[in-house]
Amino acid sequence: MRPFADGALEPPCRSCLRRAWLVARLGGHIEVVWSTRRGNAGLLALDDQALIASLAGDRRDAVVAEYECFDDGAARSRCAASGVTALCRCDSRYPSQLEDLPDPPAVLHVRGDLARFERGLAADRVAIVGARRATEYGLQQARGLGRGLAAAGLTVVSGMALGVDAAAHVGALDAHGLTVAVLACGPEQAYPPSKRRLHMRIVEHGAVVSELPPGAPVRRWCFPARNRIIAALAQATVVVEAGERSGSLITAGQAADLGREVAAVPGLVTAPLAAGTNALIADGAQLVCGAHDVLELLFGAAALTLLPAGPDERVAGLEQDLRALLERVGGGHDTVAALASDGTSVEAVLAGLAQLELCGLVRRGPGGRYTATA
């Protein structure tokens, strides 16, 4: 998809493209500041000259020289070559939500159909973020939320990271909904590389965006910077699993600063990956048990009447003993040994679990632990 032939259309304008180039150009310098100060607060809000002055150091003259003779035509053709649309701040299609940020990106690079991206932003948007090394429970919840919210017509925004982020995208795609992935590198690259297929699916059925131009590598500071865009794009941010010092909590904090809703899925008080989310809830974040809680948060209780009520058809069709078994799985008896502790034979438990798995109601996870998928 190449909406812009080389330099044929304006915008994106030269100064915005140059700004995006400059941020990528100084990426290594920002990385140094970030790793020494553990933060880049305010850096991206500086104007071009101040940014060069505060970061480039010895290399200042070289950077200024490159800056002066910046070739916007080349930047445009690089975007076009990698199928990326550059939306600059002067463009009417630039997402207005980003203007709420103190340091909005000069250019949003979009990979995927632009009309679809605009449609996604016009709908209501929810960000789902969480731990990369998530548990089976967290993945289930993220997938379920993604599916439920996408089915209700909302756009799911996330970061395509391993674990919760990817699961949220997958859920939205499974429900044939719209989903937007905000990357910490150029939008044409799949990061992490193992999510290459997911990247392709999102480009095809949603949109992948980034403030960095094509070819920009991943750096550590790019993740919190990426998180601010996720927080700004969505009306509400739901944290699914987060440890005590998780990057997802940064996203939640940024969302709160922007006046967006913050919500979290609770976990066991003993689970390390629930420490962050439970703390958020204690601080006043909305407690989320499912997609309906997010809808209620955004639209009020009236929205719930639109949702189909009553138990799942598949569950209703089960025999009595299988339904009891499913309830016990949902109640935390997740191993065969735990399920057989009430006197049921191991053989019967195994057969019952296999039947529930065939109906798609439970999944076997690591360590032989079963989780209910409904």
Binding site: L162, E357, L358, G365
Partner: protein, 522 residues
Amino acid sequence: MRCDTGAHSLATVLARVVTFAIDGIDPRPVWVEVDIRPGLPTFRVVGLADAAVREARERVRAAILNSDYEFPARRITANLAPAHLRKVGPGFDAAIAVGLLAASGQCSGDALERWAIFGELSLTGTVQPCRGVLAVAEGARRAGVAGLVVAHERAGEAALVEGIEVAGVDDLRGIAALLDGRELPPTPPPAPASPAAAPAPDAPDLADVRGHELPLRALEIAAAGGHNLLLEGPPGSGKTMLARRLPSLLPSLTRAEALEVTRIHSVAGVGDPGGLVTSRPFRAPHHTVSPAGLVGGGRPPSPGEATLAHHGVLFLDELSEFSRPSLEALRQPLEDGEIVIVRGQQALRFPTRFTLVAATNPCPCGFAGSEHACRCGEHELARHRRRLSGPLLDRIDLLVSVARPTAAALAGPPATFSEIVRQRVLAARERQGARLVDASAHTNAQLDARMVRAHVRLGTAARQALAQAYDRGGLSARGHDRVLRVARTIADLAERDQVQLEDVLQALALRTPASTDHAVAV
């Protein structure tokens, strides 16, 4: 035998003695010819002999002199025929020494047609036991030799072979006395123990286990159908403890199987020498084992752990830590029940019919899916998954998760005695045997795709459940057959002719995943 070719001073004398070389684990007849003729005093051993055989010269010379015989100061040549066969090891000493004595007229050569001689000599002239006596005794019977002379420590092992006379001797003088007819062969050693004898009282028993109902069920199914089993669980959950108890559930070795196992162990020099191996072998090689150590090889080729586990259990703890080449090397043994090792012009076959039990942590740190938090990085997890996936997993029918038992389970009643479970296993094996009487397979695990279709009859509900699982994409074509094999065994344990829904469902719950995606985060 002794041949004088002439009475004058240039006469040469020749003696011929039968002995055996071990080629892999098979005996091959070897004739030791000793030629003595006038000339400068020399002593040569020819005939593709390795270092240990060439050193025999020194041992033979000292043994003859120390036994108060005369060592002829003439030109002596000992030839080991056939010349193309590589001769390995010290087992030819006694035969060379006896040939020399016979050729020099110091003992009678008339009885050498009746006796094969196999043993190492010490410098004092005593006959030392050496490896592979059972294989040699089988070779002697096959070659039609009437009797076998071995060190008396190994006479019992040789006597396990029926239809051959065994003489256990102490030293070179004892052999000479036997050949001269001065001394009758020692009374045969006591009859070998029957393989049906009860297992050793200190063998691990299921009754020591508490909790672990699911893994115990999987062990019973594995024993009944000969299925390979993968145990997955965090460190200290009892995987090794459970695996060690599988042999106690297996049927006793038949006499033929016991002889085969004893022969292999005797050649490899493992276990107690001298008696019949009555319990099924359990081999647990460390994960640093080389491919040759695992499946056999080296120069000369010797049996590996897979062959030592023949008719028993091969246990691979920490499966993901084994090197890729080692695991790849296991494919042929698992598929064919034997491994063929080709060296130069010769091909050796080692039998490898074992039940594989593998154990692995769910992730490198071992705590994925347990109450502890998993601390593995993405790359470690990916590496772990790659190691476990692939061709080896295709040959494993059963996957069971082992969790640490709860305190309540530890305080609870112990599991059933092995013997009780073993009776159920025996009944299930009998049903398989009756069904597979004309087939090349003996157990359900050995059924190939064609035999699965012929021998596994499904009830309607069972067929539907399997089709549903297949359509949902949770099963590969191979996985489909694996589930059917296991379901057949579960039905055999329940004494059913037709495989029912509950059998298929249990088999599905115990299946190995197509890839190990169960350990994968989305």
